[in-house]
Symmetry: C2
């Protein structure tokens, strides 16, 4: 019964996600759903990404957390449109939460929507939010063995970003092992390696992102 109910809820969520996706696509908006462990660097990566795409594509952020509006404040302080969702204990965002958040976001001119999910490598993996692309982050401080241990997020994502590469020399993270571990689960994963703090590796990621926005424009 528990499993049946969970499946029903997920299916209902995913139907609503299709509706959200149609709405966003009809406006020509490219939507990315970012998932990772807490503290893998989603907010910092998005802050830096928003700065880099400024002038090339207008972007907005929906940010999910269990509690606090700390991340919304960070985005607004940097001058970006942001809406905060608090799940109040919930371990992932749902399409319903995103639909509601969209009603308080001015989408005019927006071409790029980032959804920052709750920090959790397990629960958000199976829930569509209406995104075009799922991006999973793996920080070098977390260890290179995480793809195999938490496979669903890596299986469902189209992009993996290895973050905090500035900490590589202070950790025992093996880049090759992490890449292979993830590619075994999902051979089509596109992989970027970035230090948001040092600004290293941002170029290829931003170029790819703008390329995807341009494809949507046509």
């Amino acid at each position: 019964m528990e499993v049946r109910l969970a499946e029903d809820l997920m299916q209902a969520n995913n139907r609503l996600a299709e509706k959200v996706k149609s709405l966003l696509s009809s406006k020509g908006i490219l939507t990315l759903n970012f998932l990772s462990s807490p503290g893998a660097g989603k907010t910092t990566l998005l802050e830096e990404t928003l700065k880099k795409v400024r002038g090339r594509a207008e972007a907005a952020v929906i940010v999910g957390d269990v509690q606090t509006s700390r991340d919304k404040q960070r985005f607004e302080k940097a001058g970006f449109k942001a809406v905060q969702i608090n799940t109040e204990g919930g371990c992932h965002l749902t399409a319903g939460m995103v639909e509601k958040a969209l009603s308080s976001l001015d989408l005019s001119g927006v071409e790029l929507l980032f959804i920052e999910n709750v920090g959790n490598l397990v629960c958000p993996a199976g829930f569509q939010l209406g995104e075009d692309i799922k991006v999973v982050l793996l920080s070098t401080a977390e260890g290179d063995d995480k793809p195999g241990k938490y496979p669903e997020a890596f299986f469902n994502a189209q992009v993996m970003i290895i973050t905090k590469t500035d900490l590589l020399s202070s950790t025992n993270f093996n880049l090759d092992f992490a890449r292979q571990d993830a590619l075994k689960i999902n051979p089509r994963l596109k992989i970027f390696e970035i230090s948001s703090l040092k600004g290293e590796g941002m170029g290829p990621w931003i170029d790819w992102l703008i390329h995807m926005v341009e494809r949507k424009r046509r």
Copy 2:
């Protein structure tokens, strides 16, 4: 309905946890349930802790992961008794999983049982497993703002361990902020600061642990 069912499941779990706790207490075993984000350093901390308590208290480990038996292999390679639980997608351990794992663990002589939960700062927080003490880890690489964002784990724990203190100089983690953020949620939290990799800060933690084992012996 969803909420009612979830509450029923949690209550059923917590009743079973009382049974597990009684069993373990009757054998004089001190049981600790470790929770954190993926990659906060639970396995490495436990490996180093097991080495340090060797000869002072016999210990065993139950280790939970979504997939793989990588952590069990790490513990066994270091010469320790370990049982792996794979939740196959589940985002936290349950008392039932621990009860089942105990049946394949030789508890004779064991005084200290470590349960390493699935890496997840949200879901494991509300589920008792039969432990005496919940320990929440927060790695310096995750950021000092996590207690307020994920309050339940910090509210329910008796101990917080700030891990990877060797990365303090490479991150913008503020120790005072993290401590205060956690103590606002739970003023009785006992806080340790440790680098498992460098072996720094292990002394007070091990002393406290042995003290707790000795209290259980009396």
